[in-house]
């Protein structure tokens, strides 16, 4: 540990002089992420109840080989890697799971114990987190499909209509888009890398784009949570309707 002579006893894992309930901060992340991972894995492997009427579950979009011509398993497995990789390498989620799951550190000024071998993201495997920007591009393609699905969700056999599912799918894609558009890597790519906006070509639009992403980015954590809930609840709703537990209510 660091060389203070004052607090030698604070080297044990979890030791701290803080008097507040610091562990409360990590419990929501621990519980909700675990629940999401279990639910999403189960749903991805389930391979049914993902489509009903004009609605398609976001876990299964884009839908590849649903008739199982060449892929025997659930079609979700084929596409899962894109959105999962995006979230796993997201700067916000990294913070959340480094704290809640690996406890590096469990909370600020709470000891994680001394590990001489700590390398953070400086070497394998966590150095791979640097791939995040590529996942952004992959997810941008996914978003096009999800927008298409959200539009199609308003198209019923007799023409335009609005069901509870249509609204849920629209809200979901809005949250997913805002989450993706507030990404730190995008913020860098659209203008963050520029030092002098007034010196480069297209400086003004790049500055505006950077400002816009920055405003969204200030609430990146919020978008991360909202989109996590929305994507799980959208899937859950479609599953319940598709399996006959719920009936989709038509609003129009």
């Amino acid at each position: 540990m660091a060389d203070s002579s004052a607090v030698k006893e604070l080297t044990r894992f979890g030791s701290t002089q803080r008097r507040d309930a610091w562990w409360i901060e990590i419990i929501p992340a621990l519980v909700i992420f675990s629940a999401f991972i279990i639910y999403a894995t189960w749903r991805a492997f389930e391979g049914k109840f993902y489509e009903v009427g004009p609605y398609l579950s976001p876990f299964y979009s884009p839908l590849i080989d649903p008739e199982h011509h060449w892929w025997r398993f659930s079609p979700a497995i084929l596409i899962l890697g894109g959105p999962a990789g995006f979230r796993v390498t997201c700067y916000y989620y990294r913070k959340a799971y480094y704290r809640a799951f690996v406890m590096h550190p469990p909370s600020c000024a709470v000891s994680e114990g001394e590990h001489r071998g700590y390398r953070g993201e400086a070497s394998f495997p966590l150095i791979l987190q640097n791939v995040h920007r590529y996942f952004f591009f992959i997810v941008a393609v996914f978003l096009c499909f999800l927008w298409y699905d959200a539009v199609v969700a308003f198209k019923f056999p007799e023409g335009f209509g609005i069901g509870v599912g249509s609204v849920i799918m629209l809200v979901n894609v809005l949250f997913l888009t805002t989450y993706s558009a507030s990404c730190h890597s995008l913020r860098h790519l659209v203008g963050g890398k520029v030092d002098c906006f007034s010196c480069v070509t297209l400086g003004a639009p790049r500055h505006s784009a950077w400002r816009f992403v920055t405003i969204l980015n200030e609430h990146h954590m919020l978008w991360a949570w909202l989109s996590l809930f929305s994507v799980a609840l959208t899937d859950l709703y479609i599953r319940l309707v598709a399996s006959g537990v719920l009936k989709d209510i038509r609003l129009l």
Binding site: A2, K95, V131, H220
Partner: protein, 244 residues
């Protein structure tokens, strides 16, 4: 007059112990006032560093009830009085005496950072929107609370390989400066070890100047390091177009 107990570390490099002092509470009192009261009436040899008492000089950093804080900015009425209030020196640095720590390692790290170097032939004129971003980094008062709380230094003592959040803030201020021409990305990766930071944001949580250290300095710098060292496409684009 109501009294409150302060449990203050008394000792030096070789060790020490916590000593309890009863201090009369006055209106608007901050922890530094309480420490001064102890110095004035009970322990004239209590060592504490301070200068401005206005949260601007960055001298009075300590750990109050386990939280890295400026003593002059921490109000007594914001702390619970049912138990003694602990006041300890910063954990990440060696104690000189009582609450004064030896922060000289930070000055050595600072020397590794290439200073501002204007681009050759640059016109000394800056657009407001270009300086707005780096302005935030100039607010740093070098209190080193972010260095104290950062687990890479606090728990893992990586002082040889890691520069710490304060110096990512300084590097960001130079690296994003519209007139600067030097590149510090290799230094950030290799000498300041930015990869050791796992963006867990404790530095941001304690910064008394409310600098968004992680979001505005560290993550953008990490992205610049990716451009230079880990992104094959960016590397090829740079090779072909010579663009930054």
């Amino acid at each position: 007059m109501a009294e409150v107990t302060l449990r203050v570390f008394r000792g030096d490099r070789d060790g020490g112990k916590a000593v309890d002092y009863q201090v009369p509470l006055t209106e608007g009192m901050v922890v530094l006032d309480a420490i001064h009261s102890i110095q004035a009436h009970q322990a004239p040899d209590l060592a504490v560093r301070w200068n401005c008492k206005a949260a601007k000089c960055g001298s009075c950093s300590a750990e109050v009830n386990g939280r890295p804080s400026l003593m002059c900015k921490t109000r007594m009425d914001a702390l619970p009085h049912d138990q003694p209030i602990t006041v300890y020196p910063m954990k990440s640095f060696p104690v000189i005496k009582d609450l004064a720590t030896d922060v000289s390692w930070n000055y050595r790290v600072n020397k590794k950072i290439p200073p501002f170097q204007p681009r050759p032939g640059v016109e000394w004129k800056m657009d407001q929107r270009d300086v707005d971003r780096v302005q935030e980094f100039r607010k740093c008062i070098e209190c080193f609370l972010c260095q104290d709380v950062c687990h890479v230094l606090r728990d893992h003592d990586k002082k040889q390989q890691f520069g710490g959040p304060r110096f990512f803030v300084r590097s960001a201020g130079l690296e994003m400066h519209p007139l600067d021409g030097a590149s510090r990305t290799r230094m950030l990766k290799e000498e300041l070890g930015i990869g050791f930071c796992n963006i867990t944001k404790c530095c941001t949580e304690v910064c008394p100047e409310e600098i968004h250290i992680t979001d505005n300095a560290i993550i953008p710098l990490k992205e610049r390091v990716v451009d230079e060292f880990y992104d094959p496409v960016a590397m090829i684009v740079r090779k072909i177009f010579g663009a930054k």
